[in-house]
C-alpha cells in the first residue's frame, strides 16, 4: 500500500464531503482525481460528491451528499449546506442508510408482468417494451369498457418530487383517470384547518420554535418523528420556553419536556375546552383580537342555528363588492352592522355577549346571539371536574395550565397526527385552535398552531406541469374506494367503481386500511388491473399485474419542497439508475405514447429523463408564482434556496399577512384557487361557528368534545364496546418513514428484527403477557402479531404498534387490516381534493390483545 496515495485520497473524500457548495451541479464533472493530479499528486480513489434531497414521505426533505466511487454510493452524509446554519445538519439514521435500499435485496431489477392470477402466481421478468405495451393495452381495455374514471391513480406524495409525481398527474389528467389524493388517503389532512382557517394546513417553520415561550404538544412525538428538527425543541426549552406534553404515553418528547400530562386517548378536546372555559371566565382572552379576526362577534340566529346574513336584516344591505364565495354577516353595537368579509375593520364596540331581537326583511322577528355568547354557553359543561372525568387530567393542573397558556406568550401548540387521525380529530383541532385564537397567539414569531404531518404541500404553482392546458382533473377520495359511495358525498363516484389502479411510491396492498380487502379485490378480479411503480419489490408489487421499476432520489433529477422547512431543493442523480430502473417521468412518457400517440408530446420526448426533468423544473419555476419568483435552476444547483413569503426575511409564519396587515382569511392554499378554499370560511374570518346543515345536525356547530368510538366502532358494532377494550394506536418509529425502510437491514438490527407491541405493565399482567412474548392484536376486522415491550410509559388500555412494517414481518397480515374506513359526514360538506375531504382515522380502532397460544 502506498501511503501517500491513500492519504491523498482520504483528503479528497473529506474535501468532497466538505465542499458541497462548490460541487453541486458539477455532477460527474469535477474529478477529484483530476484536481489532485493538478496539484502534482497521485489519484486514488476517485470519489465524487453529489448533493441530492432525501425524499421519502417524512417532511424532512434533508439535503444529503452521496459519496460516489465508480458509480456506487459508498456512504451518505448530510449536506449541511442550508444558508441558515441552525438547520444544519438535517438528516437521520434512515437517510444515512439509504444504500441498503438502493442496493438491497428487494431492489427491483427488471419490469415484471403477471401472466397468471395476481397475488397468487409468480410475476415474470419482462422487457420494458413488453411491460409497457401490456400495461397500456390493459388500461385502454378497461378505459373503453368502464370509462377512464374507473382507473384510479395514487402517488405518495406531491411535495417529495414535483417533476416525477407531476408527470403522473399529467398523464392521469390527459387520460381522464381518477386521482386519489394522498393527504386525505393517509389521514394526514387535519380537517380543523379548512374548517377553522380555510386552509389546507399551515405550519410554523421549526426555527421559529425557539421564539416561543410556551409550547404545548398534544400527541406529537417530535423527538421521534421530526428528527432533523427535534433539537429546536430542546433549544427552545433551554432558552426558557415551557414545554408541556399531553400524551397518553410517556414518549421521548415527554421525557424532554418540563411537564408531561397523561390524558386518556382522544380526550384532548375536553382538555382544550376546559382551558377555553377558564380563559373566558377569567377574561384572559384578547378581545381586540377576536373582534378583529374571528367570527366571535357575528350573530347567529337562535331559531335555525344559521349565521345571520346582512341581506336578511331590515335596513342592511349586502355590500356589492363581495365575491360569490364570501358572505356578509352581521354584528351588533347597538346598531346592526353588515360585516364586510374582505375587510377586517370591524368597530371594536361590537358586542360579544347577550341576545338581540332582529327584524328581518321577511317581517319576522328572530333572536340572535354573537357566536362568542354561544361559545360561552357551550363551554359551561367543561368544568375542571368534568374535564378530569373525561380526560384524567387533574383539575388543579387544568386550571394552572390554562392560566399559563393564556398568559405566557408567544404560545405554540403542536397537534400531532397520531392524535388527529381519529374520527373526531377535527373537533380536537378546532378546540385546540380556540386556545391560540382566544389569546391572540397567531401570525407572529413563535405563535400559532402546527400539525407537521405529510409532505403534502404544493409550494409553488405547478399547474403548467401537473395539469396540461388547464384540463379538468378527476379526483376521488380513497375512503370511497374502500367504503363505497355515500349519499352525502360531494366527490363524483365512478359509475362502475374503481376497476384498475396505478400506484406510485406507495404500498396500498400492505399499508393502507383494509389492504386485506384490496388484496381480495385483486384476487377475485373485481380490481381487474394493477400497475405499480416502485424501486423495490413491495407487497403491492406482488399483487400487481405489471411492475415498473422506478428509481430513488439518488438516480434522477427532481424538485422538492417540504411543508416543514422553507427550502426549495433539487434531487440530482448521484449514480446511474441501478439495474433497469427508470425515472418515472420516462415511464409516464412511454406509457403516454402507447395510450395515445398525441400524448407523447407532453413529456419532452426528444430529451433524456434528466434533461426532461430540468425542463419541467424550469417551467414550474417560471410559472410558479410569487413563492419562487426569481429562483432559477442554476441557483438550485448551487444549493437550497429559501422560498419567498410575505413575512420579512421570508420566514414561515402562518397568517402573518392576515394578522399584521388585516387581510381577509384564508391565505391561498396551493394548488387550489382561492374561491375553492375561501368558501370554507365565507365570513373571511377565523370561524369557530360552522352553520352548514351537517354541522348543525351533528351538534358540532361549535367545537365540542365527543368521546371516541361512539359514532364509529360502537355504531358499526355495538358489541365492540364489551368485546374490545384496548385502543390500537399506530405511531411512527425512528426506524421507518411509514413503510419505507421497513426492509432496511440496519434498521431492523436496531429493533431486534421484529415488530413490537407496547403495553402498560398492568395491562400486560392482566393478560398474562411478559416482555418479549409474541402477542396477537385483533378485532372483528383483522389481526396482527408482534412482540411485547412492557413499557411503564404506555397508557392504560392502549396497544401501541409502530407503523410501517411490511406484512412479510407480520406473518403476511397488514397491521392496518384492523382499521376501518369510517367516513365522518362533516368531512363531506365540501370537496376540494386533499383540502376538504373524508380522511382516514387510523387510530379510531379498538382491539384486544392475547399472548399467542392463549386462545380465549
Amino acid at each position: 500500500m502506498e501511503r501517500g496515495k491513500v492519504k491523498l485520497s482520504r483528503r479528497q473524500f473529506l474535501q468532497a464531503t466538505a465542499a458541497t457548495g462548490v460541487l453541486i451541479g458539477s455532477v460527474g464533472a469535477t474529478g477529484f482525481a483530476k484536481k489532485a493530479i493538478g496539484k502534482g499528486e497521485a489519484a486514488l480513489p476517485d470519489i465524487k460528491t453529489i448533493r441530492t434531497t432525501c425524499s421519502p414521505n417524512c417532511t424532512g426533505a434533508c439535503g444529503m451528499n452521496a459519496l460516489v466511487e465508480d458509480n456506487e454510493i459508498k456512504a451518505i452524509v448530510q449536506a449541511a449546506d442550508y444558508p441558515d446554519p441552525e438547520y444544519n445538519p438535517r438528516g437521520c439514521l434512515k437517510g444515512l442508510s439509504m444504500m441498503n435500499l438502493v442496493y438491497g435485496p428487494d431492489r427491483l431489477q427488471t419490469p415484471l408482468i403477471q401472466k397468471g392470477k395476481a397475488g397468487v402466481d409468480e410475476l415474470k421478468k419482462s422487457t420494458w417494451d413488453e411491460a409497457l405495451d401490456f400495461t397500456a393495452r390493459r388500461l385502454k381495455e378497461i378505459s373503453d369498457k368502464y370509462g377512464p374514471e374507473s382507473i384510479g391513480v395514487m402517488f405518495q406524495v406531491g411535495g417529495t418530487g414535483y417533476v416525477h409525481k407531476g408527470a403522473v398527474s399529467r398523464l392521469a389528467t390527459l387520460a381522464g383517470w381518477n386521482i386519489h389524493h394522498a393527504y386525505d388517503q393517509n389521514g394526514d389532512l387535519p380537517m380543523f384547518w379548512p374548517m377553522t382557517f380555510g386552509v389546507q394546513t399551515e405550519e410554523l417553520e421549526p426555527s421559529e420554535w425557539v421564539n416561543s415561550r410556551y409550547i404545548a404538544i398534544f400527541g406529537s412525538n417530535i423527538m421521534a418523528t421530526r428528527l432533523p428538527d427535534a433539537h429546536f425543541l430542546v433549544e427552545a426549552r433551554n432558552r426558557g420556553a415551557k414545554i408541556a406534553v399531553f400524551d397518553p404515553n410517556f414518549s421521548p418528547t415527554a421525557a424532554k419536556a418540563d411537564e408531561w400530562i397523561p390524558i386518556t386517548g382522544s380526550s384532548d378536546a375536553a382538555v382544550a375546552l376546559g382551558i377555553a372555559k377558564i380563559i373566558l371566565e377569567e377574561k384572559l382572552y384578547n378581545e381586540t383580537f377576536i373582534k378583529t379576526y374571528t367570527d366571535m362577534p357575528l350573530l347567529v340566529r337562535i331559531d335555525n342555528g344559521k349565521r345571520l346574513k346582512a341581506d336578511e336584516v331590515q335596513g342592511l344591505i349586502r355590500p356589492e363588492d363581495i365575491p360569490t364565495y364570501r358572505e356578509a354577516y352581521v354584528a351588533y353595537n347597538g346598531q346592526f352592522i353588515a360585516v364586510h368579509p374582505e375587510k377586517l375593520d370591524l368597530t371594536l364596540d361590537v358586542v360579544l355577549e347577550g341576545e338581540v331581537d332582529v327584524h328581518l326583511k321577511s317581517g319576522e322577528i328572530v333572536k340572535a346571539k354573537p357566536a362568542f355568547q354561544l361559545l360561552k354557553e357551550s363551554l359551561i359543561k367543561y368544568t375542571p371536574d368534568e374535564v378530569e372525568k373525561e380526560s384524567g387530567m387533574k383539575k388543579d393542573a387544568l386550571v394552572r395550565i390554562a392560566r399559563e397558556m393564556a398568559t405566557i406568550k408567544p404560545l405554540h401548540i403542536v397537534y400531532g397526527a397520531s392524535n388527529y387521525q381519529w374520527y373526531h380529530g377535527d373537533l380536537k383541532g378546532r378546540a385546540l385552535a380556540l386556545i391560540n385564537v382566544l389569546t391572540g397567539n397567531l401570525g407572529e414569531a413563535g405563535a400559532g398552531i402546527s400539525t407537521y404531518a405529510g409532505q403534502y404541500r404544493i409550494r409553488l404553482k405547478v399547474a403548467q406541469w401537473w395539469v396540461p392546458e388547464g384540463r379538468k382533473q378527476n379526483w376521488l377520495p380513497w375512503l370511497y374506494v374502500l367504503n363505497g359511495p355515500t349519499k352525502t358525498m360531494k366527490a363524483k363516484y365512478p359509475e362502475h367503481g374503481i376497476k384498475a389502479l396505478i400506484v406510485g411510491w406507495g404500498n396500498p396492498f400492505d399499508q393502507h386500511n383494509m389492504s386485506n380487502i384490496l388484496r381480495e379485490r385483486v384476487q377475485s378480479g373485481e380490481l381487474e388491473f394493477v400497475a405499480t411503480m416502485d424501486f423495490q419489490m413491495t407487497t403491492s408489487c406482488q399483487y400487481s399485474h405489471a411492475v415498473l421499476p422506478g428509481v430513488t432520489w439518488y438516480e434522477k433529477t427532481d424538485l422538492v419542497a417540504s411543508p416543514v422547512h422553507p427550502y426549495l431543493q433539487l434531487q440530482q442523480p448521484a449514480i446511474k439508475p441501478v439495474f433497469e430502473g427508470k425515472p418515472e417521468l420516462w415511464i409516464m412518457k412511454e406509457l403516454a405514447k402507447r395510450l395515445n400517440p398525441e400524448f407523447e408530446k407532453y413529456f419532452y420526448p426528444e430529451l433524456d429523463p434528466d434533461q426532461a426533468s430540468e425542463e419541467a423544473i424550469k417551467l414550474m419555476l417560471k410559472t410558479g408564482g410569487s413563492t419562487v419568483e426569481g429562483i432559477t435552476l442554476e441557483q438550485l444547483k448551487k444549493g437550497p434556496v429559501r422560498l419567498k413569503s410575505e413575512v420579512p426575511g421570508n420566514r414561515q409564519i402562518p397568517f402573518y399577512e392576515q394578522i399584521q396587515h388585516k387581510r381577509a382569511f384564508p391565505p391561498e392554499s396551493l394548488p387550489a384557487k382561492l374561491e375553492q378554499t375561501a368558501q370554507f370560511i365565507k365570513s373571511g374570518r377565523i370561524e369557530f361557528y360552522k352553520d352548514e346543515d351537517i354541522f348543525l345536525r351533528a351538534g358540532e356547530a361549535l367545537p365540542v368534545h365527543k368521546p371516541p368510538f361512539v359514532e364509529s366502532e360502537y355504531a358499526l358494532n355495538p358489541q365492540a364496546r364489551e368485546k374490545y377494550s384496548f385502543t390500537f394506536v399506530t405511531r411512527n418509529a425512528i426506524y421507518r418513514v411509514h413503510s419505507t425502510h421497513s426492509n432496511n437491514i440496519w434498521m431492523n438490527e436496531l429493533q431486534e428484527g421484529k415488530p413490537h407491541i407496547w403495553l402498560n405493565p398492568a395491562d400486560a399482567t392482566e393478560k398474562g403477557i411478559k416482555d418479549g412474548d409474541e402477542v396477537e392484536i385483533y378485532n372483528d376486522h383483522g389481526k396482527v402479531t408482534a412482540f411485547a415491550v412492557i413499557d411503564p410509559g404506555a397508557g392504560r388500555k392502549v396497544a401501541v404498534f409502530e407503523e410501517g412494517w411490511w406484512s412479510r414481518y407480520l406473518k403476511g397480515a397488514s397491521y392496518n387490516s384492523l382499521t376501518y374506513p369510517f367516513i365522518k359526514p362533516t368531512h363531506e360538506v365540501y370537496f376540494v381534493p386533499g383540502m376538504w375531504a373524508p380522511n382516514t382515522a387510523w387510530n379510531e380502532c379498538l382491539c384486544d390483545v392475547r399472548k399467542v397460544g392463549n386462545a380465549q
Binding site: 500500500m1 501511503r3 485520497s9 482520504r10 473524500f13 473529506l14 464531503t17 466538505a18 486514488l44 480513489p45 470519489i47 466511487e69 456506487e72 459508498k74 456512504a75 451518505i76 452524509v77 448530510q78 449541511a80 445538519p89 438535517r90 438528516g91 437521520c92 439514521l93 444515512l96 442508510s97 444504500m99 441498503n100 442496493y103 438491497g104 435485496p105 431492489r107 423527538m223 421521534a224 427535534a230 430542546v234 433551554n238 414545554i243 421521548p252 415527554a254 421525557a255 418540563d258 411537564e259 408531561w260 439495474f579 425512528i734 437491514i745 440496519w746 438490527e749 436496531l750 429493533q751 413490537h756 407496547w758 405493565p761 416482555d771 415491550v789 413499557d791 411503564p792 410509559g793 404506555a794
Partner: protein
C-alpha cells in the same frame, strides 16, 4: 494533543443517527456496531423507566471511550492495540491475532470481533452483487500500521477509531458530523480553549465507570432535568 469527545445528553434525543453514520462510513458488516445508543434502565430502546407515573427516559451513546489508561491495550499480547500521538486508541489489523483478551478487558463492551469474513456477511444480506459500502480505501498511520480497511479480516477485533480516516486529516468523525442535534463535540482536550475543554469545565461532565481508573477521553454532559 489529546483528542477527546463530549456527548451532551441533554441534546441527545436517542435517534441513533450516529450509530448508523458510524456503521456506514466505517463499513461495518451486518451485526457489527461500533457505536450504540441505549436507554439506560430499560430493556428496550425508548421505553420508559420507572413506575406509577414517575417516569424518565434518557439516552446514552456508547462507543470506544478512548481511555488514557486503556485496559484493552494493556492486555494485548502482541501490541496490536496502541495509543497514537493524538491519544487515539487504535487496532493494527495486520497485527491482531484475534485472541480477544481485549474484548474481555474492555469494561465498556465496545469491541467487536469478526467471526466471519465480513464480505460473506454482506453477501448473505443480499446486497447487489459486488456492492460494498463505507470509506473505500485502506488507511495506515504514520508508521504504516493498518488502522482502517473497508473489510476487516476474519479473526480480528475492531472498534471505533474516532474515524481515523477523517480525523487524521483534521476533519470530524462521522458521528459528530451526522448528529442532527449537534450533541457530539470533538476536539483537543489539551487545549484549554477548545470547546470540549470548556464544556467539560462548565457543565459538570462525567465519564463512564470513572471508578475503574480507565480515564476515558469521552465525556458526557448530564441531561438537564427541568423541574417537574
Amino acid at each position: 494533543m489529546r483528542m477527546g469527545m463530549v456527548i451532551d445528553l441533554d441534546k441527545c434525543i436517542g435517534c441513533r443517527t450516529c450509530t448508523v453514520a458510524c456503521k456506514s462510513h466505517n463499513a461495518q458488516p451486518p451485526g457489527t456496531w461500533w457505536n450504540r445508543v441505549f436507554t439506560p434502565g430499560s430493556s428496550y430502546h425508548q421505553a420508559a423507566v420507572g413506575k406509577d407515573g414517575y417516569l424518565q427516559m434518557n439516552f446514552l451513546p456508547v462507543s470506544c471511550q478512548m481511555c488514557d489508561n486503556a485496559p484493552c491495550e494493556k492486555v494485548c499480547p502482541v501490541g496490536a492495540t496502541y495509543t497514537d500521538e493524538r491519544g487515539v486508541v487504535l487496532v493494527n489489523y495486520d497485527r491482531c491475532i484475534g485472541c480477544r483478551y481485549c474484548i474481555a478487558a474492555c469494561p465498556y463492551n465496545v469491541r467487536q470481533f469478526n467471526w466471519e469474513d465480513p464480505k460473506k456477511v454482506k453477501e448473505r444480506a443480499g446486497y447487489k452483487e459486488g456492492y460494498d459500502y463505507g470509506y473505500p480505501a485502506d488507511v495506515r498511520d504514520k508508521d504504516g500500521q493498518l488502522v482502517y480497511t473497508p473489510n476487516r479480516p476474519q479473526g480480528v477485533v475492531e472498534k471505533c477509531t474516532f474515524c481515523f480516516q477523517y480525523t487524521s486529516q483534521g476533519e470530524k468523525p462521522a458521528c459528530v458530523r451526522s448528529c442532527p442535534s449537534k450533541a457530539r463535540i470533538f476536539g483537543d482536550l489539551d487545549d484549554p480553549d477548545s470547546e470540549v475543554s470548556r464544556l467539560i469545565r462548565d457543565r459538570q461532565a462525567f465519564r463512564l465507570k470513572e471508578e475503574l481508573g480507565t480515564q476515558p477521553k469521552v465525556f458526557y454532559l448530564q441531561a438537564s432535568k427541568p423541574n417537574r
